[in-house]
């Protein structure tokens, strides 16, 4: 793919609301966009370091809860002291959510990367379950199953307009698009830097990576922190867009949705989560009319198996292989076109 591709794709998404006026479809695009941000964060771990986080929804939910709680304020009794937090500006709460999610990622990474193998998967999946139990049971803080209501929407400072509260769908769309673009660029810079090369090295052959002086555990923890922080940002976007957060945000099916987006799109490619995210963000809307939700999940599960069996690299690498072969076939001299990371 050429260096202009990201800009062309961005331009396309910027112009979408110009020709698509339907508010419902816009809503679908916004929620898909939020999930794409989460999928991009998951891809950093799963695709580039080869570590599957099956509790990614925990970081997403922690970002959502922190951002929501910060912006509506709370008081809670901790070890006999009463901690009162006044409502903070939404942007500050949003950033705090990113930090807290990153911190959770650091803790999980520190503990589970003491050993390799299946441990990280099991620790993350259990962690998500525990966070859900906390959200359900710590009613003083989270309102439990009654959910956090009336979460304020995000307030932005826009040139010419001053402080603007993002109520409507259109500015929300552009906000999500901006965050997605930043997440994409952040991950691109990381994976094309020294750190990213270390990730790929340890994914391929850990003992070899270690032998050339890569501190494997440290890099894995870094990847987890960045990934968790981006997922937290997605969670914050979600909280202030939907404006209600309940413990169901930690349901396992959301993690599965992210994993499927990354796998189907192509793990370890920059565009994989975007392609997979658009596909699986829009697909449920078509399936909704023809199939019950259970059937939709069966299709998800089966498509995951089918992809691993027949297209193990995902759609994006398969596509770039096809275009590569077409280009080679079209040119009189077989060019040495670079087949690269998205």
């Amino acid at each position: 793919m050429s260096r202009y591709t990201p800009w062309l794709v961005l331009l396309f998404f910027v112009t979408v609301p110009l020709w698509m006026r339907d508010q419902y479809y816009l809503h679908i695009l916004i929620t898909s966009g939020i999930f794409i941000v989460a999928a991009i964060s998951l891809n950093l771990l799963l695709g580039y370091t080869g570590q599957l986080s099956l509790g990614h929804v925990a970081f997403f939910g922690i970002g959502a809860y922190t951002s929501a709680l910060g912006s509506i304020g709370f008081d809670v009794e901790l070890f006999g002291y009463i901690l009162v937090v006044e409502p903070k500006p939404v942007w500050l709460a949003f950033i705090t959510g990113i930090f807290v999610a990153g911190l959770a990622g650091w803790l999980i990474g520190k503990i589970s990367f003491k050993v390799r193998g299946a441990y990280f998967v099991i620790v993350t999946i259990s962690f998500a379950e525990v966070v859900r139990l906390v959200a359900l049971n710590w009613i003083d803080l989270t309102e439990g199953p009654m959910a956090l209501n009336n979460i304020p929407p995000i307030t932005l400072w826009l040139p010419g307009q001053g402080e603007t509260t993002v109520w409507r769908k259109l500015p929300n769309y552009y906000l999500v698009l901006a965050v997605a673009a930043i997440a994409f660029e952040l991950v691109r810079r990381i994976v094309q830097s020294r750190i990213g090369r270390a990730f790929v090295a340890l994914r391929g052959n850990e003992p070899l990576a270690m032998s050339v002086g890569i501190d494997v555990t440290r890099y894995l923890v870094i990847a987890t922190v960045v990934s968790a922080a981006i997922a937290g940002a997605a969670g914050g976007l979600y909280a202030h867009y939907v404006r209600i957060v309940d413990p169901d945000i930690f349901l396992f099916i959301y993690t599965v949705t992210m994993v499927i987006m990354v796998i189907v799109g192509g793990k370890g490619t920059l565009w994989g989560p975007v392609v997979g995210g658009v596909l699986f963000g829009i697909l449920p809307e078509f399936l909704r009319e023809v199939a019950a939700p259970e059937v939709q999940w069966i299709i998800y599960g089966v498509s995951m198996i089918v992809i691993v069996f027949f297209l193990p690299q995902g759609i994006v690498p398969a596509l770039s292989r096809v275009t590569h072969e077409l280009r080679v076939a079209a040119s009189p001299i077989a060019q040495d076109t670079k087949e690269g990371e998205g």
Partner: protein, 290 residues
């Protein structure tokens, strides 16, 4: 003191089924190097099979248990042959993804077949509990415990006293050498997966009359099995058996004396403690994944 004894008794009874779940998972992991995410679904499947045989078809309860376990063994063998055999030799992540896909598909299929409404299974046991001095326990739970212990002893005998078990242990130690010695690896894998799945289905079928049956009941069972397996050390039979009882004791006392809302979080706390202080599991063997 009475309360304490009652908690110990409850933990013992619950621990039996936890041990079944843990042993099934640890065998599959130890021998096949597969992180089996369908384990919880086999547990659910066992419970639904008992419901189908006893409540829908009117089979005798005890025969229903046997049939439910047999169906679990069959489904396990089928899963292995259809999903795992074609990707033999793939890395651990690939098989993990396939198993996650199978997990989601199976769970949704169960929901589609039996709806999301919780079902209960009648058992033929008397309603009056068995009273032993200060503590009491229902006969249904005594039955669960007895069958679980029998199955644990039976699986251990299968692994240590039969030719099939010997081949399994050989595969566990060194797959290539075992294959060179004439062990049919594919058959061993199918047998292992069927056995592990059968144990999970047994746990589900045994607990179905004690609790209720619903499609997502296996998720928690899967998480607890993972906790038990980490506790006991991946691939360790007695580690998993003891791990099951330890988890049950911690849960029972945690729920009784700390907070019942966090009962299901105790397994995670155990995992974290084990990973911090003894990452190879409490009963470490030499053999473990790197």
């Amino acid at each position: 003191m009475e309360q304490f004894l009652q908690h110990v008794l409850n933990a013992l009874i619950l621990g039996g089924t936890y041990a079944l779940l843990g042993i099934g998972l640890t065998l599959i992991f130890g021998i096949m190097r597969v992180v089996n995410f369908t384990h919880g679904e086999l547990y659910t499947f066992g419970a639904y099979m008992l419901f189908m045989f006893v409540m829908s078809l009117g089979t005798n309860f005890f025969l229903g248990i046997v049939l439910a376990i047999a169906m679990g063994v069959l489904l396990g063998a089928l899963t292995e042959v259809v999903l795992l055999r074609p990707i033999r030799g793939a890395d651990i992540d690939t098989t993990m993804l396939v198993m996650i896909g199978a997990w989601i598909a199976m769970q949704s299929l169960e929901q589609l077949t039996w709806s999301g409404i919780a079902k209960s299974v009648n058992s033929p046991f008397p309603v009056e509990p068995l009273v032993m001095g200060p503590v009491s326990v229902s006969w249904a739970r005594v039955f669960v415990f007895a069958v679980a212990i029998l199955l644990i002893i039976g699986s251990h005998a299968l692994i240590h006293r039969t030719r099939l078990g010997k081949a399994m242990r050989a595969t566990f130690q060194d797959r290539e050498t075992a294959a060179l010695m004439g062990v049919k690896i594919n058959q061993i894998y199918t047998a292992t997966f069927a056995l592990g799945s059968g144990l999970a289905a047994a746990a589900g079928a045994l607990l179905a009359p004690v609790f209720v049956v619903y499609p997502t009941m296996g998720d928690m069972a899967a998480l607890k099995s993972f906790a038990i397996v980490i506790l006991g050390g991946l691939g360790n039979f007695w580690g998993a058996a003891l791990g099951g009882f330890i988890l049950a004791i911690v849960e029972e006392f945690g729920a009784g004396y700390i907070s019942s809302g966090y009962r299901d979080a105790m397994g995670f706390v155990l995992i974290i403690l084990v990973l911090i202080f003894k990452p190879t599991g409490l009963f470490a063997q030499k053999e473990r994944v790197g």
